[in-house]
Structure formats: C-alpha cells, structure tokens
C-alpha cells in the first residue's frame, strides 16, 4: 500500500496533491490517502476519482492548527503497512515528510520527478533548484518521498473507486505540539498567490535598470491582465518586493505565457519559470541563455520594445 498525505484547499485536494496521486500510480500499488483536519465538501468523491481505495482521516484538537510533528505522527500511524509514504513537494509536504523520515529512521527523497526502477527503488529528483536531476536509491523497506510540482499532469484514474473512509487514531504527545501555529495573519491581497496562478507573467530582470524602470512593464501587466515576476537581482537591489521574485528561492510559476524582459536567464531564475508553456524573451543580448532557450524573442532594449507593444495593444483594443 502507498500512503499519500493529501493537502487540501477550498476546491478539494490541492493541485499538487492531485498530481501526486496521479504520480504514485506508477508505483503500481493500492493507494490510501491521509487527510488531516477538516476536509472540504466533495473531497472523498474526488479522491475516489483519483483511484484512492481508502481515506484515513485524522481529526481532533491536535489538528486544529498546523504542527508538522503532529501531522507526522498521523502519517506514521496511517503508514503501518505502507511500502511508500508520499506527499507533494510543497513547504508543508517537505517539512512533514522530513519528520516522518526521522520517525521511521529512513532516508527521504525530496522533489521526485520519476521512478527509474521499482526493485530496488531508484528515483530521479530535482537538485540545483530543478536545473539538474539526481538518481537516488531508496533501499529501505518503506520509501519516504515528496513529488515535485508539475512532475505530471493531474489525471483521474481509469477505474474510479468508492473509497472507504476511516477515522484514524493518533497518539499525540506534548512534544509533537511544541512547534505549532498559534495564529495566522492574512497576506496582502496582491502577494505571490496571484503570481503563482497567473495565466501570463511579465518577468523583469536587471535590464529594468532601476526602481523607476517598471512603469511600462506594469502597464503591460495591466493590458494583459498579467502578474509581474522579477529576478533575484531586482529584489536584492531593492527595486521590487520579494513576493514578486520568481526562481529557486522565490515563486515557481508555469503560466501559459512568460514574457522575460531584460532577464539573462541564470539557472536560479530559469528554475522558477522553465515550465511556462510559451516563453518570449525581450533582451538586448541575442546570446543570453534566456533568449536561446525561449520559444520567441525580440532583440532590443525593453525600454523601447515594451512601450511599443503597449501602444500596439492599446491601438488594437480600441478598434
């Protein structure tokens, strides 16, 4: 049996959790899901569509606010006969699975993208921010791993199931609750959430030139209903806030279109946007990595090209 820790949002299992449920079918075993705390309506039916045969539900006072160690205790309680314990490669997923690996005394593979061999288990996982892969052996009796975002598309199972729902008894110690969320504060309305889900992202790098160099870029985001994403240079120079940063230590985005303006394409930035469906680079340097890796390019200064694009968009929309 494979146990998947499912993260939820208002719509049910989160997108990365649905990707994870799709991914684990490659391991060819019965899939059980663990849900911690209140699940949204319709979750069990959705898990059935993804081929889950049993849903274990951990609920109670210990789970009303997030504590990674308590979640890990629930995973371990649910994992008694598991050959693999899997979560999505999110902040939560990686944190909880690290606890689980400690409790089970085994290794953990973070951000797995492929199974290379089932027996013995060898996986490929993202290293160097996703710009390289590592083949890693997981020789222990139970494999603990997380699945990288966008490792596969979420797909319902060929044979949907009607999962059996079972409450899970979890023994929680005081120690499991030493590090627990005591309160949450809502984010600014326009922080990284909209960037991650944007259909179009206008990216800006060193080529913007200064903190005052974003006017035309921001106008382009308005005209395309896009979000602004920036490289690390831009945030470390203080030109734009960190929540707009795209890359290895910022947000990962995979929009339909990424317009990379004045971004050379260092590995760390590429790691955050390489899964964009279409990439258009606007750059003065025809040999910049971003240009050679893009699908489309305009060779020129963004401060001349972007205003011209804005003008053309306005002209066509007023027709």
């Amino acid at each position: 049996m494979i146990l998947v820790l499912v993260e939820t949002d208002d719509g049910g299992a989160s997108e990365v959790s649905r990707e994870t449920l799709t991914f684990v079918r490659r391991l060819g075993d019965d899939v059980h899901a663990l849900v911690v705390g209140d699940g949204p309506a319709g979750l069990v039916g959705q898990l059935g569509e993804f081929g889950v045969t049993r849903v274990l539900h951990a609920d109670g006072d210990a789970f009303t606010s997030y504590a990674a160690a308590a979640w890990a205790a629930a995973v371990v309680a649910a994992a008694r006969d598991a050959s693999a314990v899997v979560a999505a490669g999110t902040s939560r997923g990686n944190e909880v699975m690290a606890h689980v690996a400690c409790r089970l005394g085994v290794s953990m593979a973070a951000n797995v993208v492929a199974v290379e061999s089932a027996e013995p288990l060898v996986v490929s996982r993202q290293v160097l921010g996703g710009s390289a892969l590592e083949e890693m052996a997981l020789p222990e009796a139970v494999a603990v791993l997380t699945v990288a975002g966008h490792a596969c598309d979420p797909q319902a199972a060929e044979a949907p199931t009607t999962p059996e729902v079972q409450p899970l008894d979890v023994a929680i110690s005081e120690q499991d609750l030493r590090a627990r969320v005591v309160r949450t504060e809502p984010g600014e309305p326009d922080e990284s959430g909209s960037l991650k889900s944007a259909r179009v992202v206008v990216g800006a790098g060193r080529g913007a030139g200064s903190a005052d160099g974003f006017k035309d870029l921001l106008e382009l985001t308005e005209l395309l209903d896009a979000s602004l994403g920036v490289s690390r240079v831009v945030t470390s120079l203080g030109w734009r806030p960190h929540h707009e940063q795209v890359g290895q230590t910022g947000s990962r985005v995979s929009p339909d279109l990424y317009v990379a303006c004045g971004i050379s394409g260092a590995i760390q930035h590429w790691a955050g946007m390489s899964s964009s469906k279409t990439i258009l680079a606007i750059n003065t340097d025809a040999d910049a990595p971003m240009v050679t890796k893009a699908h489309y390019a305009v060779i020129g200064d963004l401060h001349e090209v972007v205003p011209a694009i804005n003008e053309e968009l306005r002209r066509r929309s007023s027709r």
Binding site: T90, A286, A297, V298
Partner: protein, 257 residues
C-alpha cells in the same frame, strides 16, 4: 543573552550553465566561484541580529572542505563572533550525516559551557535540495523545529517566528527555547560586510573539528542534466518594430483581453 549557531554550506555560484564531473557524481565547480544560498544569507543575518539584540553570541558552522573557510570568514566579517569548520568530504555525506555531526558539535560545545539557544539553518541547500537537515537535527537534539521561517524574534525563553502559509498569508509560531529553525529568504535584507568587519574577521581563530562519525551517504547514484536542446527560438524582430509581431503572437496564444 541568546547564543545562536547558524549553519551554512559552501556551494558553487552557478551562472547560466551547469557542467558535471566526468563520473557524473557532482557539479564541476573548477571554474566557478562559491557562495552560500540566499536562505543561509538570511539565516546568518538573523543570527547576528538576535545575538546583538540580546548581548549573545552568533557562531557560524559549516561541514565541508577547508575551502569553506572562505564562507566562514564572510560570515565573520558580517558580525558572527565565532566559527566552526567540521572538516569533511561533503559529497560523502547525506542529510542524516550532516545533522549528526552538527548535533555532535552542539553537544560538545554544551559540555564545554556554551549552550546554543537557537540553531538556524537554511530551509534547503541550493545544491542538494534535501529539505531535511534542520528537522533531522531537531530529532537528534530533542528540540522543537519550524521549517521555512522568514523572520524571528527572541522574547524571554520563547522564539516568535513567522512563516508563509499555503494560502499566501503568514503563520506565527511561538516556540520554547532551545529550538531549531530553518530560514527562508524574503523576510529580511542581509547586510553587506564592512572593511573593519573584514579586518576583525581575519583575526578570529576558526575552530576546526574532525568528525568521529562514519558517514552513511546520500543514496546518490548519479547526477544528470536535461538533454541539451538546440535553440528553437523564433526571433520576432529587433527593437520597437517587432511590436506588431509580438501582439500577433499574444492574439494567437489568446492572452489579450
């Protein structure tokens, strides 16, 4: 008075391209500079701030070759007050090994009279991306741990820390000391070293430790790079004259309003 141990890792400073060594087991860093990850730069900054605010000490530690002295000196120049080099071949170490040797240093310093109230690490190393050394260390030391905090403040015998929540807000933790925290970039601006700081850093004696631990390894079979793709780029034009072709593309992709 809060004593902080902050753990960093020397990693290659990658540009636009990665090369592997002939055996495929590591990144060929022979022509590259080295750095620490942005998460760790923030962890060092937080360690220095906490130590200054409370009149405590900020000690920086790394597990690696003697070359990593460069990264330790940089942290000393920023304001760390002591440094430990656990001399080891980092490529033979997996995350459990790294946690084990850090725990050994924490225990031996404690036996010698220095207890670390806080141990800070980066959320994940920018090269191996294991996401687990901090958590493993917390289990070895039997201390609470929070992963991915962006800001923190010590209040009495508690550390108050903020981390981003999955829905884009902020989650606040209040954790009893001693504790382990892993730091994520974004909450603070790391400072730059000063000339007097660099001078002072040169004089600090780095504590070199040879670990007794026999590493169990990382499970790495080999590294591989995505196949080199010949450039498929379609150049739409040069300069502002390309605007019409760009907007044609937007319309073809259906992204115009």
């Amino acid at each position: 008075m809060t004593h902080v141990l902050v753990c960093i890792k020397r990693v290659p400073d990658l540009g636009g391209e990665i090369r592997l060594t002939d055996d495929g087991m590591s990144v060929d860093d022979s022509s590259l500079g080295h750095t620490v990850s942005p998460h760790e730069e923030c962890a060092v900054e937080l360690a220095i701030q906490v130590a200054k605010d409370t009149g405590g000490q900020a000690t920086v530690l790394t597990v690696g070759s003697s070359d990593a002295v460069e990264q330790l000196r940089n942290a000393l120049a920023l304001g760390c007050t002591g440094a430990v080099l656990v001399e080891a071949d980092a490529s033979a170490y997996g995350p459990a090994d790294v946690a084990t040797v850090i725990a050994d240093v924490v225990r031996s310093h404690e036996a010698a009279g220095t207890s670390y109230d806080l141990v800070l690490l980066g959320n994940d190393a920018s090269d191996t991306g294991d996401f687990q050394v901090g958590v493993r260390l917390s289990y070895l030391l039997d201390r609470p741990v929070v992963a991915g905090v962006s800001t923190l403040a010590v209040e009495g015998d508690t550390v108050v820390a903020q981390a981003s929540s999955p829905d884009g807000g902020t989650e606040v933790y209040e954790v009893p000391l001693p504790a382990v925290l892993t730091v994520m970039e974004g909450g603070i601006e790391p400072r730059y070293p000063s000339i007097p700081g660099r001078m002072k850093a040169k004089k600090i004696v780095i504590d070199e430790v040879v670990p007794a631990h026999e590493p169990s390894g990382s499970g790495r079979v080999r590294l591989k790079l995505p196949p080199a793709q010949p450039s498929q780029v379609t150049v739409l034009g040069e300069g502002p004259e390309a605007a019409a072709a760009v907007v044609d593309l937007f319309e073809k992709l259906g992204v115009t309003r």
